[in-house]
Protein backbone atom coordinates (compact mmCIF):
# COMPACT_ATOMS: atom_id res chain seq x y z
CA UNK A 1 0.00 0.00 0.00
CA UNK A 2 2.88 2.27 0.78
CA UNK A 3 4.71 1.33 -2.33
CA UNK A 4 2.10 2.51 -4.74
CA UNK A 5 2.45 6.21 -3.98
CA UNK A 6 6.20 6.03 -3.63
CA UNK A 7 6.54 4.10 -6.83
CA UNK A 8 4.26 6.49 -8.66
CA UNK A 9 6.32 9.47 -7.54
CA UNK A 10 9.59 7.73 -8.33
CA UNK A 11 8.45 6.77 -11.80
CA UNK A 12 7.26 10.26 -12.57
CA UNK A 13 9.82 12.19 -10.54
CA UNK A 14 10.90 14.48 -13.38
CA UNK A 15 7.35 15.52 -14.14
CA UNK A 16 6.88 16.85 -10.63
CA UNK A 17 9.32 19.66 -11.31
CA UNK A 18 6.95 21.90 -13.19
CA UNK A 19 8.01 25.32 -11.95
CA UNK A 20 10.74 27.55 -13.27
CA UNK A 21 12.13 30.65 -11.64
CA UNK A 22 12.08 33.90 -13.58
CA UNK A 23 15.12 34.39 -15.77
CA UNK A 24 15.82 37.73 -14.07
CA UNK A 25 16.52 35.94 -10.82
CA UNK A 26 20.12 35.22 -11.76
CA UNK A 27 20.76 38.95 -12.17
CA UNK A 28 19.47 39.51 -8.65
CA UNK A 29 21.65 36.73 -7.30
CA UNK A 30 24.63 38.09 -9.21
CA UNK A 31 24.21 41.51 -7.65
CA UNK A 32 24.46 40.04 -4.18
CA UNK A 33 27.63 38.14 -4.95
CA UNK A 34 31.01 39.76 -4.32
CA UNK A 35 32.44 41.18 -7.53
CA UNK A 36 35.82 40.05 -8.72
CA UNK A 37 37.86 41.26 -11.63
CA UNK A 38 38.48 38.78 -14.48
CA UNK A 39 42.27 39.01 -14.01
CA UNK A 40 42.07 37.85 -10.45
CA UNK A 41 39.74 35.06 -11.44
CA UNK A 42 42.17 33.82 -14.03
CA UNK A 43 44.99 33.88 -11.50
CA UNK A 44 43.12 31.87 -8.93
CA UNK A 45 41.94 29.32 -11.43
CA UNK A 46 45.42 28.76 -12.75
CA UNK A 47 46.97 28.41 -9.35
CA UNK A 48 44.29 26.21 -7.87
CA UNK A 49 44.30 24.02 -10.93
CA UNK A 50 47.98 23.19 -10.79
CA UNK A 51 48.21 20.36 -8.29
CA UNK A 52 46.62 21.22 -5.03
CA UNK A 53 43.22 22.57 -4.17
CA UNK A 54 44.51 23.69 -0.81
CA UNK A 55 46.70 26.29 -2.44
CA UNK A 56 43.71 28.16 -3.72
CA UNK A 57 42.30 28.01 -0.22
CA UNK A 58 45.59 29.37 1.11
CA UNK A 59 45.50 32.08 -1.49
CA UNK A 60 42.02 32.98 -0.41
CA UNK A 61 43.10 32.91 3.21
CA UNK A 62 46.01 35.22 2.43
CA UNK A 63 43.70 37.67 0.77
CA UNK A 64 41.33 37.61 3.69
CA UNK A 65 44.24 38.01 6.08
CA UNK A 66 45.61 40.93 4.08
CA UNK A 67 42.21 42.56 4.05
CA UNK A 68 41.87 42.13 7.80
CA UNK A 69 45.35 43.50 8.45
CA UNK A 70 44.60 46.48 6.25
CA UNK A 71 41.30 47.11 7.96
CA UNK A 72 42.74 46.81 11.44
CA UNK A 73 45.61 49.10 10.46
CA UNK A 74 43.30 51.73 9.05
CA UNK A 75 41.03 51.46 12.05
CA UNK A 76 43.90 51.80 14.49
CA UNK A 77 45.37 54.78 12.65
CA UNK A 78 42.03 56.49 12.57
CA UNK A 79 41.46 55.74 16.23
CA UNK A 80 44.88 57.05 17.25
CA UNK A 81 44.49 60.14 15.10
CA UNK A 82 41.15 60.84 16.65
CA UNK A 83 42.58 60.39 20.13
CA UNK A 84 45.52 62.65 19.33
CA UNK A 85 43.36 65.42 17.94
CA UNK A 86 41.24 65.15 21.05
CA UNK A 87 44.37 65.31 23.18
CA UNK A 88 45.88 68.27 21.39
CA UNK A 89 42.56 70.05 21.40
CA UNK A 90 42.48 69.57 25.14
CA UNK A 91 46.02 70.82 25.70
CA UNK A 92 45.50 73.74 23.36
CA UNK A 93 42.57 74.87 25.37
CA UNK A 94 44.51 74.24 28.56
CA UNK A 95 47.52 76.15 27.23
CA UNK A 96 45.55 79.17 26.31
CA UNK A 97 44.04 79.45 29.73
CA UNK A 98 47.20 78.42 31.52
CA UNK A 99 49.75 80.68 29.84
CA UNK A 100 47.74 83.66 30.88
CA UNK A 101 47.20 82.40 34.41
CA UNK A 102 49.21 79.59 35.98
CA UNK A 103 51.48 77.74 33.59
CA UNK A 104 52.07 74.86 35.98
CA UNK A 105 51.31 71.33 34.83
CA UNK A 106 51.24 72.00 31.13
CA UNK A 107 50.90 68.81 29.22
CA UNK A 108 51.82 68.95 25.61
CA UNK A 109 52.58 66.55 22.85
CA UNK A 110 55.28 66.87 20.25
CA UNK A 111 53.26 68.65 17.53
CA UNK A 112 52.51 71.36 20.03
CA UNK A 113 56.13 72.15 20.75
CA UNK A 114 56.89 74.65 17.94
CA UNK A 115 53.90 76.69 18.93
CA UNK A 116 54.93 76.69 22.57
CA UNK A 117 58.49 77.54 21.68
CA UNK A 118 57.38 80.40 19.46
CA UNK A 119 55.18 81.75 22.19
CA UNK A 120 57.88 81.66 24.84
CA UNK A 121 60.54 82.92 22.45
CA UNK A 122 58.48 86.02 21.75
CA UNK A 123 57.84 86.46 25.46
CA UNK A 124 61.50 86.10 26.31
CA UNK A 125 62.54 88.42 23.52
CA UNK A 126 60.09 91.02 24.73
CA UNK A 127 61.32 90.78 28.29
CA UNK A 128 64.93 90.95 27.17
CA UNK A 129 64.44 94.12 25.17
CA UNK A 130 62.64 95.66 28.13
CA UNK A 131 65.53 94.63 30.32
CA UNK A 132 68.15 96.01 28.01
CA UNK A 133 66.42 99.38 28.20
CA UNK A 134 66.76 99.36 31.96
CA UNK A 135 70.24 98.09 31.70
CA UNK A 136 71.52 101.39 30.51
CA UNK A 137 69.78 103.43 33.11
CA UNK A 138 70.24 101.42 36.23
CA UNK A 139 73.14 100.22 38.25
CA UNK A 140 73.45 96.70 39.68
CA UNK A 141 75.02 95.18 36.61
CA UNK A 142 76.42 92.32 38.61
CA UNK A 143 73.04 90.92 39.31
CA UNK A 144 72.10 91.18 35.69
CA UNK A 145 75.08 89.12 34.71
CA UNK A 146 73.93 86.51 37.17
CA UNK A 147 70.61 86.42 35.40
CA UNK A 148 72.36 86.00 32.06
CA UNK A 149 74.27 83.06 33.44
CA UNK A 150 71.11 81.48 34.76
CA UNK A 151 69.43 81.92 31.43
CA UNK A 152 72.39 80.33 29.68
CA UNK A 153 72.17 77.36 32.05
CA UNK A 154 68.49 76.97 31.28
CA UNK A 155 69.26 77.23 27.59
CA UNK A 156 71.80 74.41 27.66
CA UNK A 157 69.53 72.16 29.69
CA UNK A 158 66.75 72.95 27.25
CA UNK A 159 68.95 71.89 24.35
CA UNK A 160 69.75 68.64 26.19
CA UNK A 161 66.05 68.00 26.74
CA UNK A 162 65.32 68.61 23.11
CA UNK A 163 67.93 66.05 22.13
CA UNK A 164 66.38 63.54 24.51
CA UNK A 165 62.99 64.14 23.01
CA UNK A 166 63.99 62.22 19.88
CA UNK A 167 65.22 59.15 21.74
CA UNK A 168 63.20 58.92 24.93
CA UNK A 169 60.02 56.85 24.93
CA UNK A 170 58.02 59.14 27.16
CA UNK A 171 57.84 62.39 25.27
CA UNK A 172 55.15 63.83 27.47
CA UNK A 173 57.41 64.12 30.49
CA UNK A 174 60.21 65.70 28.50
CA UNK A 175 57.93 68.19 26.84
CA UNK A 176 56.65 68.98 30.29
CA UNK A 177 60.16 69.68 31.44
CA UNK A 178 60.86 71.77 28.37
CA UNK A 179 57.81 73.90 28.89
CA UNK A 180 58.75 74.23 32.52
CA UNK A 181 62.18 75.37 31.41
CA UNK A 182 60.78 77.99 29.07
CA UNK A 183 58.40 79.20 31.70
CA UNK A 184 61.21 79.42 34.21
CA UNK A 185 63.08 81.72 31.85
CA UNK A 186 60.18 84.09 31.51
CA UNK A 187 59.83 83.98 35.27
CA UNK A 188 63.51 84.80 35.78
CA UNK A 189 63.25 87.64 33.35
CA UNK A 190 60.06 88.84 34.96
CA UNK A 191 61.68 88.81 38.38
CA UNK A 192 64.61 90.73 37.00
CA UNK A 193 62.30 93.23 35.39
CA UNK A 194 60.41 93.64 38.64
CA UNK A 195 63.61 94.23 40.53
CA UNK A 196 64.81 96.76 38.02
CA UNK A 197 61.45 98.42 37.97
CA UNK A 198 61.48 98.72 41.72
CA UNK A 199 65.02 100.00 41.65
CA UNK A 200 64.09 102.58 39.11
CA UNK A 201 61.07 103.60 41.11
CA UNK A 202 63.17 103.90 44.21
CA UNK A 203 65.65 105.99 42.33
CA UNK A 204 63.00 108.22 40.86
CA UNK A 205 61.50 108.70 44.30
CA UNK A 206 64.86 109.34 45.75
CA UNK A 207 66.06 111.66 43.01
CA UNK A 208 64.24 114.74 44.26
CA UNK A 209 65.51 114.05 47.77
CA UNK A 210 68.88 113.01 46.55
CA UNK A 211 70.04 116.51 45.85
CA UNK A 212 69.24 117.85 49.23
CA UNK A 213 70.84 114.78 50.63
CA UNK A 214 73.87 115.45 48.53
CA UNK A 215 73.72 118.99 49.65
CA UNK A 216 73.52 117.79 53.18
CA UNK A 217 76.53 115.69 52.77
CA UNK A 218 78.41 118.46 51.09
CA UNK A 219 77.15 120.71 53.76
CA UNK A 220 78.37 118.27 56.31
Amino acid sequence: MKDRLEKFVQDNREEFDVFEPRTELWQQICQELPQKSPEKEAKVIKVSFGDRASFSADYFFMRVAAAIVLLVGCGLTLFLMKQQTLDTAGTLAANQSITTEAPEGIEAVAPELPEIEAYYASQIEEKKTELSEYDLKVLGLDEHQLVDKELADLDSSYAALKKQLYTAPNTDEIIDAMVQNLWLRTKVLNRQLEILQRLQQNQQEKEPTQEPQNDDTTNV
Binding site: K2, E20, L25, W26, C30, E32, K40, S56, F60
Partner: protein, 185 residues
Protein backbone atom coordinates in the same frame (compact mmCIF):
# COMPACT_ATOMS: atom_id res chain seq x y z
CA UNK B 1 20.18 12.48 -5.14
CA UNK B 2 23.21 12.83 -7.34
CA UNK B 3 25.81 10.15 -7.53
CA UNK B 4 29.51 10.56 -6.94
CA UNK B 5 30.24 10.52 -10.65
CA UNK B 6 28.08 13.59 -11.02
CA UNK B 7 30.00 15.33 -8.32
CA UNK B 8 33.23 14.76 -10.16
CA UNK B 9 31.80 16.47 -13.21
CA UNK B 10 30.97 19.50 -11.08
CA UNK B 11 34.18 19.58 -9.14
CA UNK B 12 35.98 21.69 -11.69
CA UNK B 13 33.12 24.18 -11.90
CA UNK B 14 32.80 24.29 -8.13
CA UNK B 15 36.52 24.95 -7.87
CA UNK B 16 36.22 27.87 -10.25
CA UNK B 17 33.26 29.18 -8.26
CA UNK B 18 35.41 29.18 -5.16
CA UNK B 19 37.65 31.60 -7.00
CA UNK B 20 34.65 33.87 -7.53
CA UNK B 21 34.27 33.13 -11.24
CA UNK B 22 30.82 34.41 -12.18
CA UNK B 23 30.59 32.31 -15.30
CA UNK B 24 31.20 29.16 -13.30
CA UNK B 25 28.62 30.31 -10.79
CA UNK B 26 26.14 30.78 -13.60
CA UNK B 27 26.91 27.31 -14.89
CA UNK B 28 26.02 25.81 -11.54
CA UNK B 29 22.98 28.02 -11.28
CA UNK B 30 21.71 26.91 -14.68
CA UNK B 31 22.30 23.31 -13.75
CA UNK B 32 20.46 23.41 -10.44
CA UNK B 33 18.11 26.39 -10.50
CA UNK B 34 15.05 24.56 -11.77
CA UNK B 35 15.35 21.53 -9.50
CA UNK B 36 16.08 23.71 -6.49
CA UNK B 37 13.27 26.06 -7.33
CA UNK B 38 10.84 23.15 -7.33
CA UNK B 39 12.20 21.96 -3.99
CA UNK B 40 11.65 25.46 -2.66
CA UNK B 41 8.20 25.64 -4.27
CA UNK B 42 7.06 22.38 -2.67
CA UNK B 43 8.06 23.53 0.77
CA UNK B 44 6.93 27.15 0.64
CA UNK B 45 3.98 26.61 -1.72
CA UNK B 46 4.34 30.22 -2.83
CA UNK B 47 5.99 31.38 -6.02
CA UNK B 48 7.41 34.68 -4.79
CA UNK B 49 8.60 33.14 -1.55
CA UNK B 50 10.14 30.23 -3.41
CA UNK B 51 12.11 32.70 -5.53
CA UNK B 52 13.29 34.59 -2.49
CA UNK B 53 14.39 31.33 -0.95
CA UNK B 54 16.18 30.29 -4.13
CA UNK B 55 18.00 33.61 -4.32
CA UNK B 56 18.97 33.51 -0.66
CA UNK B 57 20.12 29.91 -0.96
CA UNK B 58 22.28 30.47 -4.04
CA UNK B 59 23.87 33.60 -2.63
CA UNK B 60 24.57 31.85 0.64
CA UNK B 61 25.89 28.77 -1.20
CA UNK B 62 28.32 30.79 -3.33
CA UNK B 63 29.46 32.85 -0.37
CA UNK B 64 30.02 29.76 1.76
CA UNK B 65 31.42 27.55 -0.95
CA UNK B 66 34.65 27.23 1.00
CA UNK B 67 32.77 25.22 3.62
CA UNK B 68 31.75 22.70 0.97
CA UNK B 69 34.45 20.07 1.25
CA UNK B 70 33.04 17.65 -1.30
CA UNK B 71 31.97 15.01 1.22
CA UNK B 72 28.55 14.95 -0.47
CA UNK B 73 27.60 15.82 -4.01
CA UNK B 74 27.31 19.52 -4.69
CA UNK B 75 23.66 19.01 -5.57
CA UNK B 76 22.72 17.52 -2.23
CA UNK B 77 24.81 20.13 -0.41
CA UNK B 78 22.97 22.87 -2.25
CA UNK B 79 19.65 21.14 -1.74
CA UNK B 80 20.18 21.13 2.00
CA UNK B 81 20.75 24.88 1.93
CA UNK B 82 17.60 25.38 -0.14
CA UNK B 83 15.54 23.16 2.14
CA UNK B 84 16.77 24.93 5.25
CA UNK B 85 16.09 28.34 3.76
CA UNK B 86 12.64 27.24 2.63
CA UNK B 87 11.75 25.78 6.01
CA UNK B 88 12.87 28.98 7.69
CA UNK B 89 10.71 30.97 5.31
CA UNK B 90 7.66 28.85 6.12
CA UNK B 91 8.41 29.05 9.84
CA UNK B 92 8.63 32.79 9.63
CA UNK B 93 5.32 32.86 7.83
CA UNK B 94 3.53 30.42 10.07
CA UNK B 95 4.75 29.66 13.50
CA UNK B 96 2.95 26.34 13.82
CA UNK B 97 4.75 24.36 11.14
CA UNK B 98 5.86 21.06 12.64
CA UNK B 99 4.97 19.24 14.79
CA UNK B 100 1.36 19.61 13.93
CA UNK B 101 -1.09 19.88 16.75
CA UNK B 102 -3.80 17.33 17.45
CA UNK B 103 -6.50 19.49 15.90
CA UNK B 104 -5.17 18.93 12.39
CA UNK B 105 -4.55 15.28 13.08
CA UNK B 106 -8.13 14.80 14.19
CA UNK B 107 -9.32 15.96 10.81
CA UNK B 108 -7.74 12.98 9.15
CA UNK B 109 -9.65 9.72 9.26
CA UNK B 110 -7.57 6.74 10.29
CA UNK B 111 -8.72 4.50 7.53
CA UNK B 112 -8.32 5.44 3.96
CA UNK B 113 -9.42 2.77 1.61
CA UNK B 114 -7.12 2.53 -1.32
CA UNK B 115 -8.62 2.18 -4.71
CA UNK B 116 -6.95 1.50 -7.97
CA UNK B 117 -7.94 4.76 -9.62
CA UNK B 118 -5.35 5.99 -12.06
CA UNK B 119 -3.33 9.00 -10.89
CA UNK B 120 -2.09 11.76 -13.04
CA UNK B 121 1.12 13.48 -12.05
CA UNK B 122 -0.58 16.85 -12.18
CA UNK B 123 -3.34 15.59 -9.89
CA UNK B 124 -0.93 14.27 -7.31
CA UNK B 125 1.20 17.39 -7.53
CA UNK B 126 -1.77 19.67 -6.94
CA UNK B 127 -3.04 17.44 -4.18
CA UNK B 128 0.33 17.76 -2.45
CA UNK B 129 0.08 21.52 -2.80
CA UNK B 130 -3.25 21.40 -1.02
CA UNK B 131 -1.80 19.73 2.06
CA UNK B 132 -1.27 21.88 5.13
CA UNK B 133 2.31 23.13 5.57
CA UNK B 134 3.42 20.55 8.11
CA UNK B 135 2.17 17.61 6.08
CA UNK B 136 3.33 18.97 2.75
CA UNK B 137 6.89 19.59 3.95
CA UNK B 138 7.38 16.12 5.44
CA UNK B 139 5.69 14.35 2.53
CA UNK B 140 7.67 16.32 -0.07
CA UNK B 141 10.97 15.75 1.69
CA UNK B 142 10.27 12.04 1.94
CA UNK B 143 8.63 11.31 -1.39
CA UNK B 144 10.25 13.82 -3.70
CA UNK B 145 13.55 14.90 -2.19
CA UNK B 146 14.48 11.38 -1.17
CA UNK B 147 15.18 12.27 2.44
CA UNK B 148 14.78 9.47 4.97
CA UNK B 149 13.02 10.07 8.27
CA UNK B 150 16.25 10.55 10.15
CA UNK B 151 17.26 13.33 7.75
CA UNK B 152 13.80 14.89 7.86
CA UNK B 153 13.89 14.80 11.64
CA UNK B 154 17.26 16.53 11.62
CA UNK B 155 16.30 19.24 9.20
CA UNK B 156 12.99 19.98 10.91
CA UNK B 157 14.23 19.56 14.44
CA UNK B 158 11.84 16.73 15.23
CA UNK B 159 12.38 13.08 16.12
CA UNK B 160 12.57 10.36 13.55
CA UNK B 161 9.37 8.75 14.84
CA UNK B 162 7.53 12.08 14.67
CA UNK B 163 8.61 12.37 11.08
CA UNK B 164 7.34 8.86 10.40
CA UNK B 165 3.93 9.42 11.93
CA UNK B 166 3.71 12.86 10.36
CA UNK B 167 4.43 11.30 6.99
CA UNK B 168 1.83 8.56 7.34
CA UNK B 169 -0.79 11.14 8.31
CA UNK B 170 0.22 13.33 5.41
CA UNK B 171 0.00 10.37 3.10
CA UNK B 172 -3.49 9.50 4.28
CA UNK B 173 -4.58 13.08 3.88
CA UNK B 174 -3.14 13.15 0.39
CA UNK B 175 -4.98 10.02 -0.68
CA UNK B 176 -8.12 11.51 0.77
CA UNK B 177 -7.69 14.66 -1.25
CA UNK B 178 -7.05 12.60 -4.35
CA UNK B 179 -10.45 10.98 -3.88
CA UNK B 180 -12.23 14.30 -3.80
CA UNK B 181 -14.52 14.81 -6.81
CA UNK B 182 -12.44 17.51 -8.48
CA UNK B 183 -9.42 15.20 -8.42
CA UNK B 184 -11.04 12.15 -9.86
CA UNK B 185 -10.16 12.17 -13.48
Amino acid sequence: MEKIGYQDVNQEVVQRCKGGDHRAQYELYKLYAKAMFNVSMRITNDYAEAEDVLQEAFVSAFKNLHSYKGEASFGSWLKKIVINAAINAVRKRRSELVPMDERTVANVPDEVTEDDAEWQVEQVRRAIQMLPDGYRVVLSLYLLEGYDHAEIGEVLGISESTSKSQYSRARKKLLEILKEPQFVA
